[in-house]
């Protein structure tokens, strides 16, 4: 790599930002040079996104300075940041879903006075830019119809088209699968070689190891440490990020010899899942005390399988729970049969964000009350029970009267776990249960799931994270285009086998 320019492309100095009583950024310094990837690492809620929003002019700092190429600058809006050569790839993409790729890329590049919009002309223009930067997109596709990785490339291209010399990527890998991450990192690598300054925000250690030239770790709004390549390893980073050493202390008890089959699907077909393609003629079995991991590239039928198992979509074929047919059962009946669901979208389906923790915990009981339940809700009892559960599941703070939206993502997920796992379920359907969580919370989720398994629950675990699947599963199946392309016990399968099966190769 070339000697970095002595003046950083972007420098944030002594940035402070408070929201009410919360200090999101406390005197943070950050420099990034041209031709360098600077990773900002931290757990959720550490203040990384706030810092990036300040760097892009979405927010103004309470105190502190911003310098671009050595010149002090005030960024009062994204327009200022763009004018000074900063581009941002937002975590929740800032694209208009109803517009085409070309319209989105050029939305920022033309003023309203540019007059007529030449539909064919802009498609050609965006094709050319796409080819020039090696960032493949289909310019005439409508963004709404695109998978997340392509939407992300549209955002990257939008910044590049305006020749952003400084590129900020906010949690760019959070929504991507393994292969998609590899493609993204390749693009980032090329942009670095091209002499651009890149700031990448993440909470995943793997990416840091792979592409960081420099990493700053942020915890609770403060910068903990800044390290250059060669000075960091995963242990050091994890410790700086969480403030403690993470111990991988998952202990799985040995399975019983012939445990009973809890879940059996025969010839399961879900023709119209809520999203993605259908599954056809799936056969699977999960025994008590077993974790069945389901791998697959996003959009190969995982959604359909989960919709079928949880009664969210109509299905054909048989689903038996301890011999009882529960295909197309209503959620109420599933709950009564001992099915627990940990949905991927914890703020949409897992919890009601505006309701209190006590109410959220009681929701399932209201839907499927035990037979001896009194006719009226005793909120005093509900709150007392909630308090106990919150403490047992280490939710912070364990206050049953707080709205769910007041908690961090990790603590929200603990509330979901508390509700779903405290009833000794027979079957747990977990859909990307650690999605978007930080290292500490992921460890907690894993321990709880394994504990449920050790207690004899059958667990169906869908995850994009292969490491997670390898760590937790007893058996793994891979779905490809709605069918099973690989089924194996975990001990007998390698990551390469899974990767091949995910790409459609059959053994």
């Amino acid at each position: 790599m070339e000697q970095p320019n002595p003046k950083p492309a972007l420098a944030l100095r002594g940035i402070w930002k408070r929201f009410g009583a919360v200090t999101a950024n406390a005197s943070i310094d950050l420099e990034v040079h041209s031709g360098e990837v600077h990773i900002v690492l931290g757990e959720n809620g550490a203040g990384k996104s706030t810092l990036m929003n300040i760097a892009f002019g979405h927010m103004q700092p309470d105190a502190g300075e911003i310098e671009i190429e050595g010149r002090p600058t005030r960024l009062t809006s994204p327009a200022d940041a763009i004018a000074r050569g900063i581009g941002m790839v937002h975590q929740h993409f800032a694209l208009v879903p109803a517009f085409t790729v070309a319209e989105n890329v050029l939305l920022g590049s033309r003023s309203a006075r540019a007059g007529m919009l030449d539909r064919k002309g802009i498609v050609d223009e965006v094709s050319e830019v796409s080819a020039r930067f090696g960032v493949p997109v289909d310019p005439s596709a409508v963004v709404r119809d695109l998978p997340v990785d392509e939407r992300q490339r549209v955002e990257i291209l939008k910044a590049l088209h305006r020749d952003a010399r400084i590129l900020i990527l906010d949690e760019p890998t959070a929504l991507l699968g393994v292969r998609q991450i590899a493609v993204l990192l390749e693009i980032i690598d090329r942009l670095r070689d091209d002499g651009r300054a890149i700031v990448l925000v993440t909470h995943k250690l793997g990416e840091v190891m792979e592409i960081a030239d420099r990493v700053s770790v942020i915890r609770r709004g403060r910068k903990q440490v800044e390290l250059a390549r060669g000075e960091f390893d995963q242990q050091v980073l994890a410790k700086a990020m969480t403030g403690q050493l993470i111990v991988d202390d998952i202990s799985r008890s040995a399975g019983r010899d012939e445990p009973e089959v809890v879940l059996e699907c025969r010839d399961l077909t879900v023709p119209e899942p809520s999203s993605g393609p259908p599954v056809r003629g799936l056969n699977l079995r999960v025994r008590a005390g077993e974790v069945l991991g389901i791998a697959g590239v996003e959009g190969n039928g995982q959604r359909a399988l989960i919709d079928g198992l949880t009664g969210s979509a109509r299905c054909e074929g048989a689903i038996r729970l301890n011999g009882e047919d529960i295909a197309n059962a209503l959620p109420r009946r599933l709950r009564r049969c001992g099915v627990s669901i940990i949905p991927e979208d914890r703020q949409g389906r897992g919890l009601v964000p505006d309701m209190t923790l006590a109410e959220n915990l009681a929701l399932v009981d209201l839907l499927a009350p035990p037979d001896d339940a009194p006719r009226f809700v005793s909120w005093r009892r509900v709150r007392a029970e909630a308090k106990e559960l919150l403490e047992a599941f280490d939710v912070r703070p364990p206050d049953p009267d707080l709205p769910a939206s007041a908690l961090s993502g990790g603590n929200q997920q603990k509330v979901v776990l508390a509700r779903e796992l405290s009833r000794r379920p027979r079957l747990v359907v977990a859909d990307n249960p650690s999605w978007g969580l930080d290292v500490g919370a992921i460890g907690y989720v894993h321990r709880r799931l394994v504990a449920a398994r050790n207690d004899g629950a059958a667990i169906v675990l869908v995850s994009h994270d292969l490491d997670e699947l390898m760590k937790l599963s007893d058996r793994i199946i891979v779905v490809y285009r709605g069918e099973i392309s690989l089924e194996s016990s975990r001990a007998d399968v390698s990551l390469d086998d899974i990767g091949l099966a995910m790409a459609g190769a059959r053994r």
Partner: protein, 310 residues
């Protein structure tokens, strides 16, 4: 069974009734495309109608009356966009309150200033070529310049929204304002422009009511046409061309009462039923256009500073 004269009158009335709804719908399409729902459109039309009548009566000039109507709409747009966009009030409640205010204000000012006086009106203009055609010529001979202006304006609004960079920005403000801001634009300014211009156009609907009838103002003379326009916009899926058709359908529905009164077989049907026809039609239209997708951000005030809201 029905004489040609009756049919001619029926179509003449229909076209006349279509024009106010057309202008109102075109204006509302602009406003809604930018992410604002202007329930106050009824009040805007009423103020436009009153101002047109007032200036017409005072000046005696049709041109001034027309300009004044448009100008009053722009002013309504300034006031409403300050509430809808800048302050970020609840758009439905604000709009309804604005309508109530407009009814009271225009009725009061009418009594104080113009009473039952009438002003100048627009005369029918003959269209070369068409005026000789049997039936069609007779119908069109009665139509004034506002019909042709409205028809000409339809493709102009369509092109502005769908074929210009300005239109792309307006639609982005209505679909995902966060994306527009992240692209370096001022969402508020984009919405101000759309709301102000849209209210100007909608007010011309009120102007058309006045200049195509007596030139005077009757309290509450808009009589729900603003709400009908809100329905037409949904039916038209925010497309100006379809809105033109929709406005025509509602014009026909409103003049049904006249046609019905001329047909002996229908003499037993109460007149009120025909009067209700356009409103019933609105309800049906809205019910059956459930699947039409509003611009995603309609009705949601935009607050800058939060990074990437939807």
């Amino acid at each position: 069974m029905v004489s040609e004269l009756v049919l001619i009158t029926f179509f003449v009335t229909s076209l006349q009734l279509m024009v106010p709804i057309l202008f109102a719908s075109l204006g509302e399409i602009l406003v809604e495309r930018s992410g604002v729902l202007n329930v106050g459109i009824e009040g805007v039309m009423l103020i436009g109608a009153f101002t047109t009548a007032l200036v017409g009566i005072e000046s005696g000039s049709v041109g001034l009356a027309l300009l004044a109507g448009f100008g009053s709409g722009l002013l309504c747009g300034v006031a409403l966009s300050a509430l809808y966009v800048r302050i970020g009030t609840d758009q439905v409640v604000t709009g309804l309150m604005f309508n109530i205010l407009a009814i009271g204000l225009t009725s009061l000012l009418r009594d104080q200033l113009i009473g039952g006086q009438v002003g100048p009106i627009l005369r029918g203009i003959s269209v070369p070529g068409l005026s000789r055609v049997r039936f069609v010529g007779d119908v069109l001979a009665q139509q004034n310049a506002l019909l042709w202006a409205g028809i000409a304006l339809t493709p102009v609004v369509a092109v502005a929204l769908y074929r210009t960079w300005w239109g792309l920005q307006v639609r982005a403000a209505g679909e995902r304002p966060g994306a527009l801001a992240a692209s370096g634009y001022d969402v508020w300014r984009t919405r101000y422009a759309a709301v102000i211009l849209g209210c100007g156009l909608s007010a011309l609907g009120g102007t058309a009511l006045v200049l195509s009838s007596s030139g005077g103002f009757v309290p509450n003379m808009v009589a729900g046409r603003g709400f009908i326009a809100l329905g037409v916009v949904v039916l038209a899926r925010w497309r100006p061309g379809i809105a033109l058709l929709g406005a025509a359908v509602f014009g026909l529905a409103q003049s049904l009462q006249f046609l019905a009164s001329q047909i002996d077989a229908l003499a037993g049907v109460p007149r009120e039923l025909w009067l209700a026809a356009p409103y019933v039609a609105t309800i049906f239209v809205v019910v059956f256009s459930l699947q039409s997708r509003y611009p995603a951000a309609v009705g949601v005030p935009y607050k800058p500073g939060t990074a990437s809201q939807h």
